[in-house]
């Protein structure tokens, strides 16, 4: 693969996304909710007159909220990846690009990078806000800074793999879709298993502790690599021009 070619494709996509307000909103909204909204909820609960939230319950709640960074990582790239593939199909701009010397792999890698960089950047920025705000809000109650910790480290390790898996699922889904919204909705279904894991942990089926989070990160890495191979097989010049809808 030619990384310079892939980077050129990525830069082009990023330049287009800057002009797409829907992509900007979709990228900013969830990190803002998880990174700022959730800490504000905890702060609100801490300051309620009833003092329902005890010091013992706070770490568990923060850990639960932090899982949403992984869930968000499966959702945010959907908006970008769907536009990246289906949007180009609608604009018919894939064929001229496929006529250039770039390989299919270069183009796919470029599109993957462009759909990954913004969500990962937004989620990591959101996580900094999340940790900073929660440390600020809970330092007095806990008597120590809760973040950074291994739990959050494992989550931030899983985030790029979850996002990569989402991007590649969207590439495959987008090959069969003819409108951006449909592709986004179908791609967003990837969130459901993650949501299932989160709810299962919340009702006590198993604990999303550091070890389990590292296992999840490993599984996501393997799945995203496998899905990249599937996307690579789907993203072939001839396939795109003759079989994609």
């Amino acid at each position: 693969m030619d990384l310079q070619s892939a980077w050129n494709v990525c830069m082009k996509d990023l330049k287009i996304y800057r002009k797409k307000t829907s992509v900007i909103y979709a990228t900013v909204a969830m990190p803002l909710i998880v990174g700022v909204g959730f800490p504000l909820i905890i702060d609100y609960a801490l300051h309620k007159p009833s003092r329902a939230l005890t010091a013992a319950a706070v770490p568990g709640l923060m850990d639960s909220f932090s899982i949403w960074f992984i869930i968000a990582a499966t959702v945010i790239p959907t908006a970008i990846a769907s536009y990246s593939i289906v949007g180009e199909k609608i604009q018919k701009s894939l064929e001229p690009m496929l006529a250039t010397p770039m390989s299919d792999g270069d183009i796919l890698l470029g599109k993957t990078l462009s759909a990954l960089l913004i969500p990962i950047g937004a989620l990591y920025t959101g996580s900094i806000a999340f940790m900073g705000l929660l440390d600020h809000f809970t330092r007095g109650l806990l008597g120590y800074y809760y973040y950074p910790n291994w739990h959050m480290g494992a989550i931030l390790l899983a985030v790029p793999f979850a996002a990569l898996l989402s991007v590649e699922v969207n590439v495959v889904v987008s090959s069969r879709m003819t409108d951006v919204r449909g592709a986004q909705q179908s791609g967003a279904l990837l969130m459901l298993p993650f949501l299932g894991v989160f709810l299962a942990s919340e009702v006590g089926f198993f604990a999303l502790n550091d070890t389990n989070l590292l296992i999840i990160a490993g599984v996501l890495a393997a799945l995203s690599a496998a899905m990249f191979a599937v996307a690579r097989a789907t993203f072939q010049r001839e396939e795109i021009l003759t079989r994609w809808k």
């Binding site: 330049k15 287009i16 002009k19 604009q91 064929e95 006529a99």
Partner: protein, 310 residues
């Protein structure tokens, strides 16, 4: 000595399952030639171009662009580097400016920064788009978009240019602009492979044309095709046509295919050789010749005859 061929296809075939889109096409396009590929919708023109531009694989046969074989995976990037493709749908990045559209394609073709700047400025000025270089392509008219797409196909200064229906869906003025530009490119001795279903366009700009209907029906210059299929005809305008004039032509073995009170149309093989004898016979019979002109069958006549069997 014949010109070197730039595009060579031998029995090039493309099948999609049981459906044969292009069937055993053999053609040769010389370097610097403008070659028109005519055919109705669904004839396989776009599929042929896609095969030649290494976008889809061939099912059988072979083809080369320059010294490179289209089926050879190592040759494919070289072929893409030496060819430019104007697709049927312009496929511009509508959100990006005209300049950025070309700049990114310059990068895709690995042009250095300085070279990119030079080519973009040259092409945008040539196509009279320089003043709008910072405007989003989505705000352009159809004709401007088509011109920008042509500039994009030329950004890397390719030796071979594939133009797939370059004037389709354009208004007459935009069509003329694009056609004039193709004629400019012709002067640069660039090899141009023009897919079109517009016979007038092919006749105006092409050195040779081929007619495709899944299989290649015929190939030749527009003039040769007209002559080979419908023969040549000469119209003799007279002050008055009478029986003596008509008989005089028949007596020397020629057939009058059309006759009016002041003109006759005679079918013959070689007007340059045969005209003098016919005119002598007509004048001997008392006919006063006003002028003589060759009556051409249009390429459309040829096309319809070959494609529809009319």
């Amino acid at each position: 000595m014949s010109k070197p061929s730039m595009i060579n296809a031998e029995n090039l075939t493309k099948r999609f399952g049981d459906y044969t889109a292009v069937d055993s096409v053999t053609l040769h396009v010389d370097k610097g030639e403008v070659f028109g590929f005519l055919g109705p919708n669904g004839a396989g023109k776009t599929t042929t171009v896609r095969m030649l531009a290494c976008l889809v694989s061939k099912s059988s046969g072979s083809a080369t662009i320059g010294d490179y074989e289209i089926a050879n995976r190592e040759d494919q990037p070289r072929i893409r580097m030496m060819t430019g493709l104007l697709t049927e749908n312009v496929g511009l990045y509508e959100e990006l400016s005209a300049y950025d559209n070309l700049d990114f394609y310059g990068r895709y073709y690995k042009l250095g920064e300085q070279r990119r700047k030079e080519r973009i400025e040259y092409l945008l000025k040539l196509l009279e788009l320089w003043d709008r270089k910072d405007a989003a392509a989505g705000t352009f008219s159809k004709g401007m978009k088509q011109k920008l797409a042509i500039a994009r196909a030329l950004i890397h200064d390719p030796e071979v240019l594939f133009l797939d229906e370059p004037t389709a869906n354009l208004d007459p003025e935009a069509s003329k602009t694009v056609r004039d530009f193709i004629l400019e490119l012709k002067k640069e001795k660039r090899t141009i492979f023009l897919n079109t279903h517009l016979l007038d366009e092919a006749e105006r700009v092409c050195d040779r044309v081929a007619i495709l209907k899944t299989k290649l029906v015929t190939t030749g210059s527009p003039q040769d095709l007209r002559r080979s299929l419908t023969g040549r005809k000469v119209k003799i305008q007279l002050q008055r046509v009478d029986e003596a004039v008509i008989s005089s032509v028949g007596e020397i073995g020629y057939q009058i295919v059309e006759s009016t009170p002041d003109s006759i149309v005679v079918s013959l093989k070689d007007p340059e050789e045969e005209n003098p004898a016919i005119l002598r016979a007509v004048q001997k019979a008392g006919g006063n010749v006003v002028f003589v002109t060759e009556v051409g069958s249009s390429l459309e006549d040829v096309y319809l005859k070959l494609v529809r069997g009319e």
